[in-house]
């Protein structure tokens, strides 16, 4: 093979690998990304039950219910709308009423959000950014929260 042919072979192989990778990326992006919604978004968009989404907001004070078998129910609110979340398992250490939370899962037929993952903040000064944005959007963001969430830790 001449130098030119070799280079051509190399370039075409690389292109082939890149095309395969691009195809993988595009198909994976179509199937496995999860959209984030505030409770208001969920209500407004009339999300179809069964679609996988993330929701975020504050755990509504007084809404937390613990049942047998580690079943937890609570309401997530952005100040405007609230949505009931059901979760079976162990909630994170810093999961508390009145605090920010992000849950991932699906809506069931009755409008209850069945979560399989619940994430809370990592320390008392930190609020998930999605929650901050959701609260800002619904106008329930207070500047003192801003101060507290500014400093996030590793």
């Amino acid at each position: 093979m001449t130098r030119k042919q070799r280079r051509l072979a190399l370039i075409s192989t690389s292109m082939a690998v890149l095309v395969v990778a691009a195809a993988l990326v595009l198909s994976a992006l179509r199937d496995s990304i999860v959209f984030f919604n505030s409770p208001t978004d969920v209500a407004e968009k009339r999300l179809a039950p069964g679609a996988r989404v993330r929701i975020g907001g504050l755990v509504k004070p007084g809404s937390l219910q613990r049942d047998a078998n580690l079943l937890v129910r609570f309401a997530v609110t952005d100040g405007k709308t609230e949505i009931t979340v059901r979760y079976q398992g162990i909630v994170p250490d810093l999961f508390r009423e009145g605090q920010g939370v992000v849950a991932e899962g699906k809506l069931d037929g009755d409008g209850i959000f069945v979560a399989d993952t619940v994430l809370a903040k990592h320390d008392e000064r930190y609020m998930p950014r999605e929650v901050v944005d959701a609260l800002k959007k619904s106008g329930h963001w207070q500047e003192d929260q801003q101060k507290n969430s500014g400093n996030v830790t590793k």
């Binding site: 990304i33 162990i90 944005d133």
Partner: protein, 659 residues
Amino acid sequence: MIPELGHFSLVLALALGIVQSIVPIIGVRKRDAVLMQLPNSTAIVQLVFVLASFSALTTCYVTSDFSVATVYENSHSMMPLLYKFTSVWGNHEGSMLLWVLILSLFGALVAIFGSNLPVPLKSLVLSVQSWIACSFYLFILLTSNPFLRLVPAPFEGRDLNPILQDIGLAVHPPLLYLGYVGFSIAFSFAVAALIEGRIDGAWARWVRPWILAAWMSLTVGIAMGSYWAYYELGWGGFWFWDPVENASLMPWLAGTALLHSAVVMEKRDALKIWTLLLAIVTFSLSLIGTFLVRSGVLTSVHTFANDPARGIFILAILVLFIGGGLALFAWRASSIKQGGLFAPISREGALVFNNLFLTTACLTVFVGTLYPLALEALTGEKISVGPPFFNLTFGPLFVPLLFALPFGPLLAWKRGDILGVAQRLMVAFGVSLAAIAVVAAAVNGRSVLALFGIGLAAFVMAGALTDIAERVGLFRVPLSVVRQRAAGLPRSAWGTGLAHFGVAVTLLGIVCAGTWASERIAEIKPSQTVSLSGFDLSFDGLAQHAGPNYRELTAKFTVRQSGVRLATLEPAKRSFASRGTTTTEAALLTHGFSQLYLSLGDVNNDGSVAVRFYFKPMVLLIWIGAIMMMLGGGLSLSDRRLRVGAPKPAARPAAQLAE
């Protein structure tokens, strides 16, 4: 007084850095030997100043000087001494100071150990190194000064984030930074080579030890971080495809590619332009990693601060070095002569294959990590790209890479014989099939994918052994000759074998722990028992302890296997009053390479506790494999050929000086 001294020495380091950034360039242009020698001493003095600054900050932490703002924010007088040390870099400001400390350390090391480098190349390298240093000194001094005072000084600090009060995290950032920053040397060498417009196999030989050292640190750093997440976050997962983890994985992938392409360049004088590009890209990804983690664009445990000024400053550094590096590459790469020829089926070809798949895999991680950011910036839509994406893209790309791995070292340089190699790998292939058969017979709940993974791991392991066996002539020549040959085999060959074996060990750990892990979440009352994978776990009761800066609630469990008592496990919850925070301390029982993992959930008023109980088969192999890779790198690094075999600059620079 001490913080001011620390601040002042950092300013001195900056002043010296500016001199070192400019003077060597003039020296090289004017061929002035004195000016070109200058960075040899300034690089060392810079290290001394940064070290003084870092020591000053450390002193403030150790003596709990809460008049310093960062100490107040991140330390507590009751904290154990070890964590007072480690909280120096457990925050944004301090970690950036650690970054420049390591950067100046590498600069000084080049100045000291680079005596066999041609003088102009060395002084250009140190000059470029100093550009990077100066931009980070400025960043620290202008936006993240760790020495700012508080008036009046508070009596007590706010404590280090409790999840960081852990030995695993104490060593994780320095190792990671050694890796990130180590690649800056490769970048500086690449930029220097582009400025000079001259590059050859010797260049690769000089830069390879630095790439190896950086790669080793990064490998262990990532493994350390993964083990930390595994036992500290209480979920029992070892890799979350979290953007911050990806930020460290990307430079690792590019760095691994660079490591291999530099071999081709050293041995065969080929792939020169590609290696230069990879060197620039690898360090760029290290910078992007720093940027992603530090600027607060990502929501993660690692994000220290959401100060926009810092984000913009880091972005400017990013644009300057990545943009500048790539622009210089585009402008000067054509001036570099084409390298040697090789057939597609050859050792070089195999390494190109390696590079192709590693960089493509890196690209998919890059897309998955940055796509959510881009989408949000463009449309405001918030998405998260989770593990399924990476499993679907990264996984398929790694399969051909791993399958080809045993072939590479067995192929000859220049023109290889693929059929001959395949023949020599027949045994390895047999081993792989046998492993699949054994596992399929022994384990129920078999999954085709897992069996394939086992087979692949066995193939790579046997392939690595085949390579060594072929080299020493095992089974072909008498044993005494084998011993002789083994002693004569260069350490880099052993290193390659060990590192490749380590890759397979990690793969085996991931496949086993991923497929056959069992999990049980239960609420359990005292004296009750739960069972999982043949282990019986009985709950004996709760106990309270007081730690130095926390209160601890420990649950005592006894583990039995078929009635025989194995151990007592004591998972705990620690509450840190200073931060109003709780951490979960998982209890681990190592059983061969497998682990029992027990973490505590909520404690109820009736004395029952929620527990997460995992059995993770072969999970330790994941990190043992990473350590093997690191040791393999270490063996290669200790190879005499790498250290002293580099041709002495001899008359060449002198001749140039005389021009």
